[in-house]
């Protein structure tokens, strides 16, 4: 398969890249790893006139800020995230989620920032053009949904694996454009609209990921459910994080986030509340898993029906919580 024609720019610094991004405006597309963008370009789903490649921009290694926050460069490859001893020690949940992204080769190319800005996906959209032989769907500026025939809106699903993990870690992202730089909580980066899933304005990109200082007694778990179990987008991804008080049993704060269920990752807030202040036990975790499945309503996608995903979610949530409780340190 061939890429469509484009003009190529390879700036040496982020500042130069933002300058170019601003200059070219909507004609340009920023690319870091390219593992999500280039397949879509090959399928003819988009054809930017200019590609601004960040391959030449130097990558900073993880650093600790004054207040104990861990700062990661968004241009780190996922393989580096998996390998980084600092991340393994301070945010093992992120490392575990990153191991689950695609394949080894893709993890060596794809970046953390790129995973955060993944495009929403659908069986019918992420195909060569001929697959939609009748008329274009919402994502192709058409008027119909192939997944849900009478659907009134696009139902494409956000499937990045690292995002539920980072949401559990209360991560923030630093975004930069030529004019300004701002910090937003990661969960606010997602709009919930399948057509425009990422809340970045024109000329803006994610430059840093910031993870707050970890609590002393913390356990985390991550599960990704897919049919083949490798090199696949997840049908469901669940991340859980439990902070306990000194007795090692009573939950102080809980975070549960589920990915691949809608146009944005969803936090199971009610289920989290059911854990807070309670002593962790098998019975409680089973009950909380039920609550997760009742609260988060997965949409059907990629051949998985919604009722199946709901049942599956209860099982996956229980497994994730058990992992988190067992891995307490």
């Amino acid at each position: 398969m061939h890429l469509p024609k484009f003009e190529h720019q390879s700036p040496g610094t982020l500042k130069e890249a933002l300058q170019l991004f601003d200059e070219y405006g909507p004609r340009a597309q920023i690319v870091a790893g390219g593992t999500d963008l280039y397949p879509r370009m090959k399928y003819g789903l988009l054809g930017p006139e200019v590609v601004i490649s960040l391959k030449g921009v130097p990558v900073e290694s993880p650093s600790t800020l004054g207040n104990g926050e861990l700062q990661l460069d968004a241009l780190m490859t996922l393989a580096d995230v998996v390998r980084s001893s600092v991340i393994l020690e301070r945010a093992p949940l992120l490392a575990e989620a990153a191991t689950n992204v695609a394949s080894n080769e893709i993890r060596h190319m794809g970046t953390l920032g790129g995973n955060l800005c993944l495009e929403t996906r659908c069986t019918y959209y992420n195909q060569s053009h001929t697959y939609q032989y009748v008329a274009p769907c919402f994502k192709r500026d058409g008027d119909r949904c192939y997944l849900i025939p009478k659907g009134k809106k696009c139902q494409a699903v956000f499937m990045a694996d690292t995002v539920p993990a980072l949401i559990c870690l209360d991560a923030k992202v630093e975004t930069q454009s030529k004019a300004e730089s701002r910090q937003v909580p990661l969960k606010d980066l997602y709009t919930g609209d399948s057509l425009f899933p990422i809340a970045l304005s024109r000329g803006e990109l994610v430059s840093k990921v910031i993870i707050p200082k970890a609590a002393t007694h913390r356990g985390s778990g991550f599960t990704k459910f897919s049919l083949r179990g490798g090199m696949e987008f997840g049908a469901l991804t669940v991340a859980a994080l439990l902070d306990v008080v000194d007795d090692g049993m009573t939950c102080a704060t809980a975070r549960i986030a589920v990915g691949s269920v809608s146009a944005k990752p969803v936090r199971a807030v009610k289920a989290e509340a059911a854990l807070t202040g309670e002593k962790l036990s098998e019975g409680l975790l089973r009950e909380v898993a039920k609550k997760v499945a009742a609260e988060v309503r997965p949409v059907m996608h990629h051949g998985y029906s919604a009722p199946f995903l709901r049942e599956c979610l209860e099982v996956q949530a229980y497994r994730t919580l058990t992992k988190a409780a067992a891995g307490m340190r």
Partner: protein, 164 residues
Amino acid sequence: MGRRPLKRLIELLVNEETYEVAVEPQTTLLEALRDHLGLTGTKEACGTGECGSCTVLVEGKPILSCLALAVDYQNRHILTIEGLSEGEELTPVQHAFVVNGAVQCGFCTPGMVLSTTALLNENPSPTVEQIQKALEGHLCRCTGYNKILTAVNMAAEKRRGEME
């Protein structure tokens, strides 16, 4: 229509040799290797990053050449399957693939061999799970993967000098 992008002269450092290639911006590393340099050992199957056939090693790390632009990989050490062995002498990984019948049609083999080489350089004694994890991005439609796993295990043993 926008203006036609011009060809650019770039230097590629493939298998320890420097090549000057005139490529268009949208030329992938795979196309540069196969069509411009004639190194057809690297295969294209899906072209969209799902199968692992086009794997090459860049600075010892496996990447997919079908999703990499040639212009982005100037002056980096690229290793393709052609540059792996010295002359007729097979590397332990290649030898293990041959003797275990881990090669049938051979289309996935260059990628599998290169990924295995990268894995064993980083981790000389991988567990079965670690091998599966490292090779999860490679599809093989012939062997059923078991012979490949056997071959990787054998190569690992041989590299550790436990076998003659």
